[in-house]
């Protein structure tokens, strides 16, 4: 396969960067913004769990697992679109 032209390469990297920024924003939300409101969220109780406690103990963790797999598959799609996926 021929190498990417500079324009294609930039388009590829723009798409990759956009995915990166979206994931980083979500990462900040689940790692810092939601925990910052733990005191308020703790007023809500679900199955005995205060919600603020639950988010930091389990909720954000579930998000991390999901987002890591999502990143892998979304980036693969971008790779295939530009024909730069490995064989």
């Amino acid at each position: 396969m021929a190498a990417l032209t500079p324009a294609q390469r930039d388009a590829y990297w723009n798409k990759t960067s956009r995915l990166m920024w979206i994931i980083m924003a979500l990462w900040v939300l689940f790692s810092f913004i939601i925990p910052a409101f733990a005191v308020q969220l703790n007023q809500i109780k679900i199955f005995g769990f205060p919600l603020g406690f639950y988010m930091s103990a389990q909720g954000s963790l579930i998000f991390y697992v999901v987002v890591c797999f999502w990143n892998a598959s979304a980036q693969n799609k971008i790779d295939q679109e530009f024909g730069v996926a490995e064989d």
């Binding site: 396969m1 190498a3 990417l4 390469r9 590829y12 990297w13 990759t16 960067s17 995915l19 990166m20 994931i23 980083m24 990462w27 689940f30 790692s31 810092f32 925990p35 910052a36 733990a38 005191v39 703790n42 679900i46 199955f47 005995g48 769990f49 205060p50 603020g52 406690f53 930091s56 103990a57 389990q58 954000s60 963790l61 579930i62 991390y64 697992v65 987002v67 890591c68 797999f69 990143n71 892998a72 980036q75 693969n76 790779d79 024909g83 730069v84 996926a85 490995e86 064989d87």
Partner: protein, 596 residues
């Protein structure tokens, strides 16, 4: 196994490790039967410690190799699923296994910063670093710095940071190994450390990364079984629910009621409160500072990053990050449940008992270096909460006994803790020895060294570093979790900026990266050492476990400013960065740079 990892071995990994896991469970059941037949506890403890170490040693010996790429990157054949397991074991150390639930027990919500911090960093690893470092395809993290920042100064800075962070980390692991072997083999702590050291060396010395990889998969299986069984057991016993992660909502409610009864001012689930139960900005700031430090540290620690050098390709490196966090998640979302169950057991079965009637485990644990003290302060013969002082490093290990589970479960937990500490120690030791042998010896001192000689140097350095680590651990410098957090701070302040900017910002220059590393790391060390040893006042009340909070932004700032002040990297270098960003195709090496 032949000298090179055979295809049939890789194809049959599922079967091999399936049989192995089944065998381990059978072994536990056998010991449980022996216990019922009256075999003494001490023998059971010995069986667990020696049999598991024996298995690791066996894997270590059959995986021995004299191939450079097998020794450094396990031949790059590790499938993502199994690399995820190996990373899980590499990652989860004595701090996760032994201390974290203990920290949650003592600290309540405040300690959830560890849970968040030690998981969320994988998002950064997967998005920002792992696939690109895999594409780069060399042997060590300093390798990347040396190539991207054209020269040995950057490489050497990388080695210094790597050494300081990994060494601090390894001392903590050896300390954990000492606690376990001393308790379960009934030998003095200082001797136990060196017994544990042998366990570390047999896995890593002959086979390097290849042996460590396949041992770590085996260790993951043991550590996760050992962590889940006692808390699942308790959850079934108390609530008839085999999922402690769901059941402990009720435990939290019961703890809340007991706290009121016992007059505890700081509720378990309350966020950002001080010892009196009042909201505190210092606690709030320390929480996010710790979370940030640990996450960035995750994405900077070389022994983790180098695990992604071992997958067959870039795509697998990304998927592998997903499996890593999944396998880590299994333990981390259980840890807060573990802590809650332990707290409930202590509040209901230990506090308020006659001190004379306390079971034997109390006495056994009191003998391990002052980790548990019981002092009848008011002399009424009844144990009050304030008279029961338990160290966070033994909560997990002693919980089966506190809850009155059979001793075989205690032995199982000890084997798990040992697996966690050994696997991380192995990964760290390899990271240090590889950096010294590959980056310092081969790249700087003797570029013409033969393969044979390079491997000999690597092995000698491995032993030397391990012995020094054990000797330092023998002096008990600090608690496990503190030492580990320092390691994360050091790595985060020194390595994160040059690695991330080197990939994501082409304009980063060698001078910028080096200045950023020196200043970021320097400020972090200054704060850590100053507050720890010289009574320096904390800045904004931030504890030194989050020392990277000051060094990290400075590293970015300095790298940015100095890069803009110096000439842009050569066109060749920019093409090299471009080639790293794309999974397919050859790398565009800058002329004159040696690579493998």
């Amino acid at each position: 196994m032949a000298n090179q990892t055979s295809k049939s071995f890789v194809d049959n990994l599922g079967k091999i490790y399936g049989v192995y896991a089944g065998g381990f469970i059978g072994f536990v059941i056998l010991l449980a039967i022996l216990e019922q037949m009256g075999v003494p506890n001490r023998v059971i403890g010995y069986c667990f410690v020696f049999l598991t170490i024996g298995v690791y040693a066996y894997i270590g010996v059959i995986s021995r190799t004299s191939e450079i790429s097998e020794y450094y990157v396990a031949g790059r054949v590790v499938p993502p699923f199994f690399n995820g397991m190996a990373t899980g074991a590499d990652w989860m150390s004595a701090a996760s296994f032994i201390s974290m639930a203990g920290g949650l027990y003592l600290g309540g919500y405040g300690a959830l910063g560890y849970v968040l911090g030690w998981t969320g960093g994988y998002v950064l690893v997967g998005v920002l670093l792992a696939p690109y470092l895999r594409k780069f395809g060399q042997f060590t993290v300093p390798d990347f710095l040396g190539v991207r920042y054209e020269g040995n100064t950057a490489r050497l800075c990388g080695v210094v940071v790597l050494f300081c962070a990994s060494f601090t980390y390894i001392v903590a692991q050896t300390f954990g190994i000492g606690i376990i072997t001393s308790r379960f083999l009934d030998i003095p702590f200082e001797v136990a450390i060196f017994v544990g050291l042998l366990g570390i060396l047999v896995c890593s010395m002959l086979g390097g990364m290849r042996a460590v990889t396949w041992t770590q998969v085996a260790q993951y299986i043991i550590l996760i079984i050992a962590y889940l069984i006692p808390v699942v057991w308790l959850s079934i016993k108390l609530f008839g629910n085999p999922f402690p992660e769901l059941a402990y909502g009720q435990v939290l409610e019961q703890i809340g009621e007991l706290e009121k009864k016992l007059g505890i001012l700081k509720p378990h689930a309350a966020a950002y409160v001080d010892a009196k139960g009042q909201f505190s900005w210092v606690e709030f700031n320390n929480f996010w500072a710790l979370t940030l430090t640990l996450m960035i540290g995750t994405a900077s620690l070389p022994h983790i990053l180098m695990r992604y050098f071992t997958t067959p390709n870039v795509k697998d490196a990304r998927t592998s990050v997903g499996w890593s966090i999944f396998f880590i998640f299994l333990l981390y979302f259980t840890a807060p449940a573990y802590a809650a169950f332990a707290k409930l057991e202590v509040y209901t079965n230990v506090i308020g008992q006659n001190i004379a009637d306390l079971p034997r485990w109390v006495q056994n644990w009191s003998q391990v270096g002052g980790l548990l003290t019981i002092k009848d302060g008011n002399g009424d013969g009844i144990l009050q909460l304030s008279e029961f002082i338990i160290n966070q490093d033994i909560i997990v290990l002693s919980m089966p006994e506190i809850a009155g589970l059979p001793y075989v479960i205690s032995g199982l937990v000890a084997a798990g803790g040992l697996a966690a500490a050994l696997s991380t120690a192995d990964g760290l030791l390899l990271a240090i020895a590889n950096a010294l042998s590959h980056d310092v010896y081969y790249k700087l001192i003797d570029p013409h060294a033969s393969t044979m000689r390079r491997l000999v140097v690597a092995r000698v350095l491995l032993v030397v570093v391990a012995v020094i680590g054990a000797a330092v651990a023998g002096t008990r410098p600090a608690g496990i979790i503190q030492m580990v957090a320092w390691a994360f701070s050091l790595a985060a302040a020194g390595l994160f900026a040059p690695l991330v900017l080197g990939i994501w910002w082409k304009r980063t220059t060698a001078a910028g990266a080096i200045a950023g590393m020196v200043i970021g790391f320097g400020v972090c060390v200054y704060y850590l050492v100053g507050t720890r040893y010289f009574g320096m006042t904390e800045w904004f009340g931030i504890r030194n476990i989050s020392s990277a909070l000051f060094g990290l932004p400075l590293a970015f700032l300095v790298t940015w400013i100095v890069s803009l002040m110096t000439a842009a990297p050569s066109k060749e270098m920019q093409e090299f960065v471009d080639s790293i960003r794309v999974p397919k195709g050859e790398l565009h090496w800058v002329a004159g740079q040696a690579h493998e």
